[in-house]
Amino acid sequence: MKKMEIPLSENLGHGHLACAGCGAAVSMRLTLKALGEKTVMIFPASCWSIIPGFWPYSSIRIPVVHAGFVTGGATASGVRAALDIRGDHETVVAVWAGDGATFDIGLQALSGAAERNEDFIYICNDNEGYMNTGTQRSSATPLFAWTTTTPVTKPKENPKKDIMAIMADHQIPYAATATIAYPEDLLRKVEKARSIRGTRFIHLLSPCSPGWRIPSEITIKVSRLAVRSRVFPLYEIENGISYTIREEPHVVPVKEYLRLQGRFSHLTDLEIEVIQENVERTWERLTRKASLKLK
């Protein structure tokens, strides 16, 4: 892969309110570098309703529109329409939504907008739960994980929803996964998304140190192990059919990823085996789809 330069511009300013070791703060910093200053960002309710700061301050140096929880896809459609009416086809409209606002409560508005192929970049900042309200289960929470609504006596019973498959089946021009341990990959994907028109979807995995029960200094390490264990493969889907998977040269057992995190500390070896099988099955399904690519 071509070596890339990370832009020096900083559009996430000092004084933001993210927790120590917040994966999303790193995600945001990198994403803003790739999006550039001619961007407006829409925030459905999430940690990012708070992190940028309280009125009258904002630590984000581009225009920001805070929006209702379920409204990411709809608000972005409206902002895009207004800019187009004003003759501004250049400014990028980006949504920054949590996994709750994407996988759960905002899925309808997102699906509606994707079906209409609205012209914006939708970034799902996935920390695998309702972290802003104190770590409750979402449909992005992984199998057997502890949350405050899935206690260790009855951890989450269902695997994570495959949001990428859902978005790909809307036949949108571009969908990609990315995470902070691979900043060049993340930047390249956001830049690529920026160069395309229509609905673009970026699924960002952002480890959450309080929610995942990990020490704040291992956020990047956990992000890297998510990819190496194939829990979170890095790939792109163009037009719903053309897959590009970043092959991971150092595959590790899922146990290495799980054992670092307090939210999985209750797992038995058997449960870890079930998760391992689940990860392998998901990987196989992904690679099968990728091999179906029309030549």
């Binding site: 200053e37 001619k38 961007t39 407006v40 829409i42 309703s49 708070i50 940028p52 700061g53 309280f54 009125w55 009258p56 904002s58 984000i60 140096r61 581009i62 225009p63 920001v64 529109v65 805070h66 929006a67 209702g68 379920v70 409204t71 896809g73 709809a74 608000t75 972005a76 459609s77 409206g78 902002v79 895009r80 329409a81 207004a82 800019l83 187009d84 009416i85 004003r86 400014t91 309808q108 508005a109 699906s111 509606g112 079906e115 209409r116």
Partner: protein
């Protein structure tokens, strides 16, 4: 140009003449023909309007909140369940001080399923910070849409224009349609004070602590308090340009009477006939039409009450546990007055049952016959 058009077509003409930039809507009976008409009118590409055909009413309002924050003129229409589904976003639109105009075609809320006229949908949104204007006929519908943008953009609050299902929405009447030039002279393009600008980045609808939130709400109240004066100015100008207009309220029949009959929406049209008839028979009654529900025209009503001893008010809506909502607002407005007339609160016509001249006459006769109402809620036309 005069055309024979339905209330819903009158809405569409009003929207087109207002040069709306972004429309976002979802179908629901009996509002649907507004969406259909606007789809036809915008499909040709003659207009610059963007029409977002969204997947729900919640998204319809959310999309307009995005577009209005982006500094353009916005419109949507809905009814009943659609309006109820928008509820969260109605609060958002006023909280964000966005001059969105929404037309609601009054329809009952299920169950039981019912698609006919009933004001309970719009009136249950009375605390969302929207100005609410009710219409009596199709001409008023078109004209109120035009006026709504002037009011909304002056006070930075959203405005809901309300008309009755079927009685207006699907009934044709002759309507004078002003020319685009005439409307352009009355309604200049929208110039937002703040908007999305990458040269001057701002954060919209940011979180505010208890240190500031109260003041945000205080400002909304102050903006609401400006509405009576601004709406009057707008209507005066409208009248001077188009030779017709509508106050927050309108008295008809006698100058002053012992009994005042208060109505809203199309019930007023029927009441005019009844009041005229009863006046000829020697009844001391006059009529008062209430157009503006929010902010409630307290001052205007108090002026018109004059020496009236009794007020008969007909509500085509119900707040279960209390009664008619207009009656409730009226009682609250009159409480601090020294001389308070007796309030006869009639509830009638829910779910689209006709409020006939006979029923209205019955209400007036009851008011004449009783020194005070026997019950807090007087059910008119109830099958026993």
């Amino acid at each position: 140009m005069k055309k024979v058009i339905t209330g819903n077509q009158a809405v569409a003409y009003g929207v087109i003449l207002s040069r709306v930039d972004v429309i976002s809507a979802y179908p629901i009976t009996p509002q649907t023909t507004i969406v259909e008409e606007l789809s036809e009118l915008t499909a040709s590409g003659r207009m610059k309007t963007v029409f977002l055909k969204v997947e729900s009413e919640h998204s319809a309002m959310a999309a307009l909140i995005g577009a209005s924050t982006g500094g353009v003129r916005c419109f949507t229409a809905t009814s009943s369940h659609g309006l109820a589904y928008m509820h969260e976003m109605l609060h958002w639109a006023s909280g964000a001080r966005l001059p969105i105009v929404l037309v609601n075609v009054n329809r009952a809320i299920a169950p039981p399923w019912n698609i006919w006229s009933d004001q309970s949908d719009s009136l249950s949104q009375r605390d969302t910070g929207w100005v609410q204007l009710y219409c009596e006929h199709n001409q008023e519908v078109l004209d109120t849409v035009l006026q709504a943008y002037r009011i909304a953009e002056s006070v930075k609050l959203p405005v809901m224009v309300v008309l009755d299902a079927y009685v207006l929405s699907h009934t044709s009447e002759p309507v004078e349609i002003p020319t685009a030039e005439e409307v352009d002279a009355f309604l200049p393009p929208y110039c937002p004070e703040y908007t999305i600008d990458t040269q001057e980045p701002m954060a919209f609808s940011t979180i505010a602590t208890p240190d500031h939130f109260l003041e945000f709400r205080y400002k909304i109240q102050k903006a609401m308090e400006q509405v009576p004066e601004i709406a009057k100015k707008v209507n005066d100008e409208f009248r001077s340009r188009f030779n017709r207009g509508y106050g927050a309220i309108e008295r008809y029949g006698k100058e002053e009477a012992d009994i005042l009959l208060m109505t809203s929406g199309t019930v007023t049209g029927t009441s005019r006939i009844v009041v005229e008839k009863l006046n000829r028979k020697g009844y001391d009654v006059c009529g008062l039409k209430i157009k503006r529900f929010r902010p409630f025209p307290v001052e205007e009503i108090c002026k018109e009450i004059k020496g009236a001893k009794k007020v008969a008010i007909i509500d085509r809506n119900l707040s279960a546990g209390v009664g008619g909502i207009f009656a409730q607002e009226l009682r609250a407005s009159l409480y601090s007055r020294e001389k308070r007339p007796q309030i006869f609160g009639f509830v009638s016509g829910l779910g689209g049952r006709d409020i006939t001249p006979e029923l209205i006459e019955e209400a007036i006769q009851y008011t004449v016959d009783h020194p005070q109402p026997e019950e807090e809620i007087l059910w008119l036309g109830l099958k026993k």
